[in-house]
């Protein structure tokens, strides 16, 4: 953690020095010119339906005719059904600091939600949802590795395949996203429970109010930067808590800052590198602060409005203040297929 605390400000300082050194008067003029151009470009891009396209010269409309911009409104939909499957490699399935366990993982998601088309609310639009999500986590589909485990129910030591750790997640959620221009505000609530795959025995549940805000900065025609903050509080209820702890010992609050750059590769594909910093503070049980740095890149292809394919690679680095909890590094890389239907 100490290393990161030193590296990050150092990197910022180096970048600042480089930027200042590059600012010759010519460069400043160039930046100002770019800013003006972007402002005009944005004005050109932000023509709304019902408005008229600008005249290039006085009297143009007389010859060409009035140019009233229209927009085809999509049909209103009320239900959103989504199926998503991702298959990937992880080099650290158990999130260990040492002795990492590689695994291939499949995460399947099925979700259905009452999600009416966004409607006008004040100066923006609100998109509310209420729905159910089921997720399957499956490990070691093509990997016969076994690991030695201790089973706290039978008090026995045994060898198990990675599949022993398969689990399911059930989530009931409701949320709303209010957007205005390039701003978006999220507010939501989730109830999630985790269950063993074999007998659907629940071992963890959480109630999560969450909130967030995001701003998109269009940089140029095919590139945009997005900055966002997301926060939540997890009222956790964990089976088999350690001695002298209650079942709420995993209750915590998360606060993350996200930055992502999105570049269109063509009409139907984008590439998105991202970085996220997530701070977690455990509020019950032991005092504990986690600092999670995630960065990676994903390429998303959209064949139709319903079908999307993606490839991704991500790297996570966790530093924690609790000496009993391992710090870890983890690499995930794989691909996914998403089918979304709205009706």
């Amino acid at each position: 953690m100490r290393k990161l605390k030193l590296i990050l400000p150092g990197a910022c300082l180096v970048l600042t020095i480089c930027t200042v050194a590059a600012q010759t008067p010519g460069a400043i003029r160039q930046v100002e010119s770019d800013q003006q151009r972007r402002q005009l470009e944005r004005a050109a891009r932000e023509i709304q339906p019902g408005e008229t396209a600008p005249e290039l010269y006085p009297g143009e409309v007389t010859d060409i005719g009035p140019q009233s911009i229209i927009k085809y409104k999509p049909r209103k939909s009320y239900v959103e059904a989504m199926v998503d499957g991702q298959y990937f490699y992880t080099d650290n399935m158990f999130l260990n600091e040492e002795d990492k366990q590689e695994a291939d993982v499949f995460v399947g998601t099925a979700q259905i939600a009452l999600a009416p088309t966004a409607y006008d609310l004040g100066p923006g639009k609100l998109a509310p949802r209420i729905g159910y999500r089921h997720q399957w986590y499956m490990f070691g589909l093509l990997n016969d590795d076994t690991v030695q485990v201790f089973d706290f129910e039978t008090l026995s030591v045994r060898e198990v395949e990675l599949r022993k750790f398969d689990f399911n997640a059930q989530t009931l959620f409701t949320d709303g996203r209010w957007t205005m221009g390039n701003w978006g505000v999220d507010l939501g609530f989730e109830y999630t429970r985790l269950m063993e795959s074999d007998d659907y025995d629940q071992f963890y549940q959480e109630y999560v109010p969450r909130w967030g805000v995001q701003r998109v900065f269009p940089l140029y025609e095919s590139g945009a930067l997005s900055l966002g903050y997301a926060g939540d509080y997890r009222f956790a209820d964990t089976d088999m808590p350690p001695p002298q702890f209650n079942e709420d010992f995993n209750s915590r609050t998360d606060h993350s800052l996200n930055i992502a750059f999105t570049q269109s590769l063509c009409k139907h594909a984008v590439v998105q590198p991202y970085y996220r910093f997530k701070y977690t503070r455990f509020t019950e049980g032991d005092e504990r602060d986690d600092y999670l740095h995630s960065f990676g890149v994903a390429v998303h292809c959209f064949f139709t409005q319903q079908v999307g394919l993606r490839a991704f690679a991500g790297y996570d680095m966790l530093e924690t203040s609790n000496p009993n909890i391992p710090d870890y590094r983890r690499l995930d890389a794989g691909g996914g297929l998403n089918l979304t239907f709205r009706f």
Binding site: I47, Y57, E60, I64, P66, F150, D254, Q272, D332, A333
Partner: protein, 308 residues
Amino acid sequence: MKTITVLAAVFAACLPSVYAAPLTESTVTEIIKEVNVLAPGTAAPSAAKLDALVKAPERVRTGAESRTELTASDRTITRIGANTVFSFETSGRVINLERGSILLHSPKGAGGGTIKSGGASAAILGTTLIVAATENGGFKVIVLEGSARITLPNGRTSNLDEGQMVFVLPAGGGFSPVLNVNLGRLVAGSLLVKGFSRQLPSVERINTAVKKQSAQIEKGRAVDTGISAEQFAAASSATAVANGLNAIDHNSYKTGVHPALTPEQIRQLLVPDPTGQLKVSGGPGGLGVVPIKIERRVSQPQPQPGRP
């Protein structure tokens, strides 16, 4: 076989341009108010005359509230709006629009045409479109029927369908995305369409495009425009499925897939009951199965026989 198919397709695609008659001259078929022709090398313009031939590289210049119509031998029609300067290139089927507005209608099979202005161009094949331009880089294209391929000064190309427009603001003022324009209103108020004594040969097709668009507006239709970087960036990260093991919060994940514990850490979670049997006093939290971490002890080097 595949190579032959590809070559045939390339050959077929090239046919219209290979066999199309060049668009280097047209006959003046209508004049409204002030229309002049500037011959190369002459300073004074001469007034355009009905049925006279305008040839490349002569330039046609219209005055305020003036219009003219030129018809080529292959029935390609060029209608020129007020305050416009344009000329045919000496070869090919290229029109240079210096400023002002023109409507170009190229019948199917005539070879189409390209309108150039500054660094921008609009290429058509059997289409009717309107182009406006300014001397300082402004450029606008509206397709009335058919489709056209637009190349903007930044190198970006777009295919426009009927009822679509794209423009570049003057003096480097930025590019618009592809926009849908109300074709019915535009055609009804356009002098380039309605301001001449003859109807355009493509008037039926334009009317069909207007009706089609009106029906789409009434019905409400989703247009597959792909997805832009902005749209994707704005898509809620909170509602999308995250990638990899981050599909679920990492601390929730740890309750199902625990980090390994050392035997000592496991022993701390067990206490003997009054009978001396070990029992569970707690657990790792969550799923009660946890990998055992093998503790590595630093082994002392064993003395080799015969060595100290």
